[in-house]
């Protein structure tokens, strides 16, 4: 047993962190927010060139040949910087939908009756219907968007949503694709993004608590603030081991547990980070509300707390 990151995994994490810092730093994120752009095609192409989407495709098919643990590290980094876009759907569609692996095709996902994220920017839509994975592209996709969906004013300004309003043709089943695996991995990757966000808001809170002075000392010297920060770390670290272990085992129950704990860590940590920031935390200018809104959104995607808890309860019998 050796349950720690390997040197290659550490290098991969450093590499993607540097790539994201260069291509989607805070200024870029804020610019996207102001401009209302949800998917930045240039960034998407650069992620594709770096192997973000093709990570798990075999090398013979032009991929990087790595596994689920490495994907989790990428998604954790994406979660840290609030990278928008249907990352999980595009990553999972690599190899099945033309252009997805290279970052040339943006793929959104429709999972049962949940709202669809980034549908307007998508070149392809994967629909999970029962046990099948269906694909809509081109004219059929445009027809679906026009006739069967309507935009929703989204809680998260960087994640536009569409609601499905009418029954419609959802294309042909993708041969060999299994909806259960697609969902399972989607749950895990969303959990990894939540973990990245939870770790980032912990850092933001600590940084603020060290610098901000009140009553003549940094607020981080006050025990009430210390304890908020300590609990944030505890939540993030428990979620980290849950997510990493689930990536290694790919066990459905373990993945459900990882999503449950990562959702809680992302949401609670963002709330506590906002609290540590005080009045400043309630402003549009501080990034913390963007983490909270994304965390709330993701908590409702792929697998909710109620669904996860039922899965975990059934495992006890």
């Amino acid at each position: 047993m050796d349950f720690q990151l390997s040197d290659d995994q550490r290098a991969l994490r450093t590499g993607i962190r540097e790539l994201l810092a260069g291509r989607f730093g805070r200024d870029r994120m804020r610019a996207a927010l102001d401009a209302g752009t949800d998917v930045d095609r240039v960034v998407w192409g650069e992620l594709g060139a770096a192997g973000f989407f093709a990570l798990r495709l075999p090398e013979a098919e032009g991929g990087v040949g790595l596994g689920l643990p490495e994907s989790v590290l990428l998604f954790e980094e994406a979660g840290r910087v609030l990278l928008p876009g249907p990352l999980a759907a595009s990553h999972l569609a690599a190899g099945a939908v033309k252009g997805a692996a290279e970052g040339g095709t943006v793929v959104a996902v429709l999972d049962e009756c949940r709202p669809v994220a980034h549908l307007g920017a998508a070149d392809a839509l994967i629909a999970l219907v029962g046990g099948e994975v269906r694909v809509l592209e081109g004219a059929a996709l445009r027809e679906f968007v026009r006739g069967a969906t309507c935009p929703v004013r989204s809680l998260d300004p960087l994640t536009p949503l569409h609601r499905v309003t009418a029954a419609a043709s959802l294309g042909d089943p993708l041969p060999g694709a299994e909806a259960a695996r697609f969902r399972r991995e989607g749950v895990l990757l969303a959990a990894a993004e939540q973990l990245g966000s939870a770790a980032r808001t912990t850092e933001m809170a600590v940084q603020h608590a060290r610098g901000r002075e009140q009553f003549g000392s940094p607020i981080g010297a006050f025990q009430s603030v210390k304890h908020l920060c300590a609990q944030m770390l505890v939540r993030a670290e428990l979620a980290r081991t849950a997510v990493y272990a689930a990536a290694v085992t790919a066990d459905p129950v373990e993945i459900a547990g990882a999503k449950l704990l990562a959702d809680e860590a992302a949401v609670r940590n963002a709330r506590d980070c906002l609290q540590v920031h005080g009045g400043m935390g309630f402003t549009w200018e501080a990034d913390v509300h963007l983490h909270l809104k994304r965390a709330w959104l993701r908590a409702g995607q792929w697998l909710t707390a109620a669904e996860a808890e039922e899965t975990l309860a059934a495992d006890l019998c």
């Binding site: 047993m1 050796d2 349950f3 720690q4 990151l5 390997s6 995994q9 643990p69 989790v72 912990t202 600590v206 608590a209 060290r210 000392s217 940094p218 981080g220 010297a221 006050f222 025990q223 603030v225 210390k226 304890h227 920060c229 300590a230 609990q231 770390l233 505890v234 670290e237 428990l238 979620a239 081991t241 849950a242 990493y244 272990a245 990536a247 290694v248 085992t249 129950v253 373990e254 459900a256 547990g257 990882a258 449950l260 704990l261 109620a306 996860a308 808890e309 039922e310 899965t311 975990l312 309860a313 059934a314 495992d315 006890l316 019998c317």
Partner: protein, 388 residues
Amino acid sequence: MTDLSYTPEEEEFRARLREWLGDVLPGLPAKPRPDDWPGRRAYDTAWQRMLYDAGYAGLHWPVDAGGRGATPTQHLIFLEETEKAGAPYVGANFVGLLHAGPTIATEGTAEQRARWLPPVLCGDEIWCQGFSEPEAGSDLASLRTRAVRDGDHYVASGQKIWTSHAEVADWCELLVRTDPAAPKHRGISWLAMRMDAPGVTVRPLRTLAGSTEFAEMFLDEVRVPVSHRVGAENDGWRVTMVTLSFERGTAFVGEVVACRRTLAALAAEARANGRWDDPVLRRTLGRLNAEFRALWRLTQWNVSEAQRAGGSGGVPGTGGSVFKLRYSQARQELYDAAAEVLGADGADLDREWVLDRLTSLSYTIAAGTSQIQQNIVAERILGLPKGR
């Protein structure tokens, strides 16, 4: 997160251990009642002797201290398998094996190691811990028990409290103030005191669970040879920190395994008595499943980290604080859920889990309260300033 599977060598170690446990456990004496202290000592030391004879005593201790020098992973497997098999808990040997022993092994002289370590490993001698005082609990360094030099002896006077196993212990790892003028962390020494020395009085303390798990201990001019001091005079605080780092590591491995077993039993009970149909309770049990699975993974993460660092035995460091904070909370929630499952029987002290619910209240207090642990995490891991 390279590998969660065990190596063939680790699996072989597990298989041999399992086989041995299957052979010896049926021959153990009957479990004593909780208030039968001589019985508990006899039971716990008999188990320690069996471990010793089979070569499992001090598994994670260094070889030159009489241990087996096992890797942290082997120690994890040992704790997991013994708990799964229902083997006795370390019990009265706890302080000797997990506190005093490792401290003497790390900080003691050759003579001290030769004198004190072998009887700990074979179960001949029991240790207790004389750290906490009525005015020095979480703020341990403010302890007031004094020891004054008189020739080649220290003369110790004061009061200790929460001393587990004091009734049956042969030795006490005693923290005393040897320089009242020094800053509070600097004037402390670590002594090995015989419990039958003149001037030692032990009085059992009754806990809220009704049992006498602890005792208070009064010291009235107790003479302790200077040769029984481990580490330099007035350097006892540093020596103690070496000791405490072991407590927050693998000390809880067996208990996480036990909690997972209890959770499965709760689900079975809930199915049998119909409480499973309550979705709120069912979801609570599901959430606890996620908690204890993750805590088990966190243990494996910490053990792997220690193993990579070349360590053996415990998991020294602050990572243990992160674990303890969440574990102590989850354990209390587990027994609250048990009360929900039991319904009206949750008030019956003879029902399984009811006494455990009371006992679980100590987990957020013992070995550093949750509030102190949060300060440790905030200051030592997150680097927040010391303050109010």
